[in-house]
Structures are given as structure tokens and as C-alpha cells.
């Protein structure tokens, strides 16, 4: 069973039922459907981070690099005024992102602990400045996506990405696929060694496993998922800019993951929804929403030691 905890099954069941119904209830309100879509896309990003940080044990502050890469790659590889095939180009972009992750991974995985945190931060900052200072890639303003891709498979076309509801369901599908993929990988033989490397790297190496290889593959998987999320985000809003790649983006995702309950994966969904919900709530309450957000974060660190998922599990698990 890939969903072993009762809390997990209950949360996910409720989440998916509600998520499936949201566009039906909000048919007239495309603003809220759009907001919900963004939350779903962010959840994919945060789940991929939760996988890397919480399960593989790679605390990266540079995850946003791949988020931005997904968006930028789309603009770079697709012709400007043509509606390309989404599925083909998504795979193509994920492939390139995986290669980038391979190169970056080989460099950064030579370090660990605090140094790993810093070097991943530095690389994403480098990428940020690269795009920020570059004229060809739009500099600080970024680039626009003029035509959304089309989504036919073997001639059958049933999704129109200009339709907010269709885009919403595509994003929900992404959440489902990401969740299942991560859970299956964690339960697999590969996952067993990856978790062992996190729990006790010395011991795992003493048992004959090349930890570097396991971490590298995990890093590639997590980063590619982040790139897909970035691609979706860029397509939803029709633009990409260097802000996608800032350390604030990485940091916010990390906050959402820890808030939800680091390492639980389903907590990432919970954390994203909670964070975005809180931000929306505070923004409407006051101009100084950041103050309340910061206060809320501090309180949660001090009081909810294992995040929201941890708290729920304490209530619901025997």
C-alpha cells in the first residue's frame, strides 16, 4: 500500500473529491478557478521539494532554478506564434531539465549539510542573475508566451488550455501523477536505499551502496518535477521572468513544505493550500500581511513541531 497512514488516506480522499468539484461550483468565477489552479501547480513544486528535502535528505535552497527553467525552456524551444503540441514539448523540456539537473547535481552533490544548502542557493542565484542581466531573454521583464500549446494525442483533442477549467484539470492531473510517482518511488527498492541514506548515510555506505548515485538520481527526479510545475505556471499566466528563480521562491516553497509537515508528501499539498490561504486572508485583512505571515510562521515552528500533517496524525493515528 503506498498510502500507509490513515491520516494520509483521509486527507487525500477529501482533497481530491473537493478538488474535482471545485470548477463545478465555481463555474462563473474564473478568477477563483485560476487561483485554485495556481495552488495546484505550486503543490507540485512543493511536493517535489518535499521529496528532496524530507525524504532524500537533500536540503536545497535552489529548487526554484528548475521551476524557472521549465518556463524559460518553453519560450526558448518553441516557435513564437505557433501552437505546439503540449505533450511532446513537455517531455522535451523535462528531458532538457533532467540533463541540467544531472550537470548541476554532479557538482553540488559533492558537498553536504550546510555547504549543500549554500551551493544550491548560489547556483540558483547565478541563474537568476544570468536571466536578469540578459537582453536576449528579456532581462528583468522576462518573456511572454503568446500562444498556448494544443493538447492533442494522436489527433484526439479534448483539452483547450485557454479554458481555465481545462487548465485546472490538467494541473490537478499533474498533482495526482506527481503524488503517485513520488510515493511509488519511495516505496520501491530504490526508495529503500534512498531513505536509508538519509537516516544513516555512514551505515548505508558501509553496506556497499554508492550513495552519490542514489542522491543524483533522486535530485534529477525532483528537479524535473519542479521544471514541469514551472512550465505549467508559465503557461497559465503567459509569461516567465527571473522572479521564478529567486531564492525567495525556493524559500517560500520550503516554508510551505515545512508548514505542511516535512517528508510526508501529502503535507506539501496541505502546506501549500494553508500558506496560500493564509496569505490571501492576511492580504485582505491588512496591507502589512507579511507581518502576520511572519508571525504565523514563527508560531508554527515553535508550536507545531512536525507541521500540520504531524499535528493531524497525532489526532488521527492510533
Amino acid at each position: 500500500m503506498i498510502f500507509e497512514k490513515r491520516t494520509e488516506r483521509i486527507f487525500l480522499a477529501i482533497f481530491f473529491v473537493i478538488a474535482l468539484c471545485i470548477p463545478l461550483f465555481l463555474e462563473d468565477n474564473s478568477f477563483f478557478v485560476g487561483k485554485a489552479t495556481t495552488i495546484l501547480i505550486l503543490a507540485v513544486f512543493v511536493m517535489s521539494l518535499d521529496f528532496l528535502v524530507g525524504r532524500v535528505g537533500l536540503v536545497t535552497l535552489g529548487h526554484a532554478l528548475f521551476y524557472g527553467l521549465g518556463g524559460y525552456l518553453f519560450v526558448i524551444v518553441t516557435p513564437e506564434y505557433e501552437a505546439v503540441n503540449f505533450w511532446i514539448y513537455a517531455m522535451y523540456i523535462m528531458g532538457i531539465s533532467a540533463l541540467v539537473a544531472l550537470v548541476v547535481g554532479v557538482v553540488v552533490l559533492r558537498t553536504s549539510g550546510i555547504y549543500f544548502i549554500m551551493i544550491t542557493l548560489a547556483i540558483s542565484q547565478m541563474a537568476y542573475y544570468f536571466f536578469f542581466d540578459s537582453l536576449e531573454f528579456g532581462g528583468n521583464d522576462g518573456l511572454f508566451i503568446f500562444m498556448k500549446p494544443e493538447t492533442s494525442i494522436f489527433g484526439l483533442n479534448f483539452l483547450n488550455l485557454d479554458n481555465p477549467t481545462h487548465f485546472y484539470y490538467l494541473s490537478l492531473l499533474a498533482v495526482l501523477v506527481t503524488l503517485l510517482a513520488i510515493k511509488i518511488i519511495l516505496r520501491s527498492r530504490f526508495g529503500r536505499i534512498v531513505e536509508a541514506s538519509r537516516l544513516n548515510p555512514e551505515r548505508t555506505e558501509a553496506l556497499g551502496y554508492n550513495i552519490f548515485a542514489f542522491r543524483l538520481i533522486s535530485y534529477i527526479i525532483g528537479s524535473t518535477l519542479a521544471a514541469y510545475a514551472g512550465l505549467l505556471f508559465a503557461l497559465q499566466y503567459g509569461y516567465v521572468n527571473p522572479q521564478f528563480m529567486t531564492w525567495e521562491t525556493s524559500g517560500t516553497a520550503l516554508v510551505m513544505s515545512i508548514l505542511g509537515g516535512m517528508g510526508t508528501i501529502y503535507g506539501a499539498i496541505l502546506g501549500t493550500i494553508t500558506y496560500e490561504g493564509l496569505q490571501y486572508f492576511f492580504e485582505h485583512m491588512s496591507e502589512d500581511w507579511m507581518l502576520f505571515m511572519g508571525g504565523a510562521i514563527i508560531l508554527m515552528v515553535l508550536l507545531l513541531r512536525k507541521g500540520l500533517a504531524g499535528y493531524l496524525e497525532k489526532l488521527l493515528e492510533k
Partner: protein, 255 residues
């Protein structure tokens, strides 16, 4: 009858800045024998073991396994060659079951660990090997218990089980009986007597009774230097050994 030399060091040394942890150690370990390594505290026993399993790189000198030069290789490559080690300070996966602990150890033998899809529980051979290793050390009743919840002595046994689960040729054991009571130690001694038949063992221990009972060959280290290697009787009668231990043994007895 001389057994084959399965592991050998040549002028092995380890320096930390000005401190010489090990100096010019040349040893030969024979196949299917239990080779004890003793010495007062600080003699360099753990350092030697750490180098024999690849965790530490020597400052100079060579290590040969079956004739191949292996010093400087990554630790996991040592394990691949069949060199397994247990830790002096218990180093297990505390938050999972004993079975899972040994399953991680055994997995490498039976299946590709880069399989991203097959469930970790689906391979029967892995589970059987893990259970076998646990039974070998006497932990049959604890197979499904979380490792953090078993007693200290049982954790030392688990430590041993994990090495056995990797099915090595050579066992490097770093004080497996540390902190154990008499009865538990006896069990380990019996086990080691059994294992001697199938594995080559390098045993670092402070428990002298165990060492004298088990060792086919015995090496004494003192302050990083190699004092003597020989049979138990040869070593016991060597005056330099008595000298090295004289003050130290009184200290240990008083403690």
C-alpha cells in the same frame, strides 16, 4: 597448514597532523581464521579497522585484498569485494524494524537497487536473507520490532546481523561485545566460533577471555606500532606485551 592470505597491509600508516595514529603496520590475515587485534586504548585498533574497510584513507602504505591493491577506493567498493564491518558505536537504522535493517543490508545481493517501481517488500529472497541473518545472531523474536526499542545488547547483535546479511567473505568486527553482560557475550563467542568456519574474521576486542578463546592468530598494537603477531600462547608469553599492558591493565581493573 597455512591458509591463503586474504587480506594484507604493507607499511600502513595514518597520521593526523603531528599525531601518528598508526605507524608502518604490516599484517597478514589468513582466510577462514579469526585474527584478533588487541592493544591498550589509543593503540590504533579502530583506525586500523577503519582503513581495512575503506572508511579512512591511509596516509601511506598499501592494503591488498586477494592480491589486488584496494587502499584509496571508496568504502562501498570495499563492501562489494566482500569486506563487511560492524561498528564499535552502534550504527543501525533506529526508526525502522530489525527486519528492515537487515533487508537494506541484504537487498544488494538479490536485486538491482535502481528499480524505481518494484515495491521493496516484493522480493522474497531479500526478506528470507534478512530473517536468516537475524536468526543467526539470535534475534528471531525481534524481527518485527523497531530497532530503537530493543535492548543495547540486542542492538549489538543487530549490528552483527546486518553485516552477515550482506554475505561477506571477511568480517571486520569492532568490539562487538562492547557493553554486553556475561551471558550475552557468551552467546556472541559461540556465534563467532561458528562463523569462523565460513568467514575470515578480524576481531578487535577488549574482552581478553573472548580473544584468547577465539583467536587463531593475535596481533598486539601499542601506540600505533605493531608489537607482535602470533598464536595466543606466543603472544601471552611475550614480555613486551606484558609491559605494554602492565600499567594499563591495572588501570582498567581499578576502573
Amino acid at each position: 597448514m597455512a591458509n591463503d592470505i586474504i587480506l594484507e597491509t604493507e607499511s600502513l600508516s595514518k597520521h593526523w597532523g603531528g599525531i601518528k595514529a598508526l605507524n608502518d603496520i604490516s599484517l597478514q590475515f589468513q582466510d577462514k581464521q579469526l585474527h584478533g587485534v588487541v592493544g591498550p586504548n589509543g593503540a590504533g585498533k579502530s583506525t586500523l579497522l577503519n582503513m581495512l574497510c575503506g572508511t579512512l584513507k591511509p596516509t601511506s602504505g598499501c592494503i591488498f585484498h586477494k592480491g589486488d591493491q584496494i587502499e584509496g577506493m571508496k568504502p562501498w567498493k570495499f563492501v562489494r569485494r566482500g569486506i563487511g564491518r560492524s561498528f564499535q558505536k552502534t550504527n543501525i537504522y533506529a526508526d525502522v524494524t530489525c527486519l528492515e535493517n537487515c533487508a537494506v543490508a541484504a537487498q544488494r545481493r538479490f536485486t538491482g537497487s535502481f528499480n524505481l517501481f518494484a515495491s521493496r517488500h516484493s522480493n522474497k529472497l531479500v526478506r528470507e536473507a534478512a530473517e536468516k541473518a537475524l536468526c543467526q545472531v539470535g534475534l528471531d523474536s525481534r524481527i518485527h520490532t523497531v530497532a530503537a526499542e530493543i535492548s543495547y545488547g540486542e542492538q549489538r547483535q543487530l549490528e552483527l546481523a546486518m553485516v552477515l546479511a550482506t554475505d561477506p567473505c571477511i568480517l571486520l568486527l569492532d568490539e562487538p561485545m562492547a557493553g554486553m553482560g556475561h551471558e550475552e557475550s557468551q552467546r556472541i563467542i559461540e556465534l563467532l566460533n561458528e562463523l569462523k568456519q565460513t568467514y575470515s574474521i578480524v576481531l578487535v576486542e577488549h574482552d581478553m577471555d573472548a580473544i584468547f578463546e577465539l583467536s587463531d592468530q593475535l596481533t598486539v598494537l601499542d601506540n600505533g606500532t605493531h608489537l607482535i603477531t602470533g598464536t595466543v600462547d606466543e603472544v601471552r608469553n611475550e614480555p613486551r606485551v606484558k609491559e605494554a599492558y602492565l600499567g594499563k591493565e591495572d588501570e582498567e581493573e581499578a576502573a
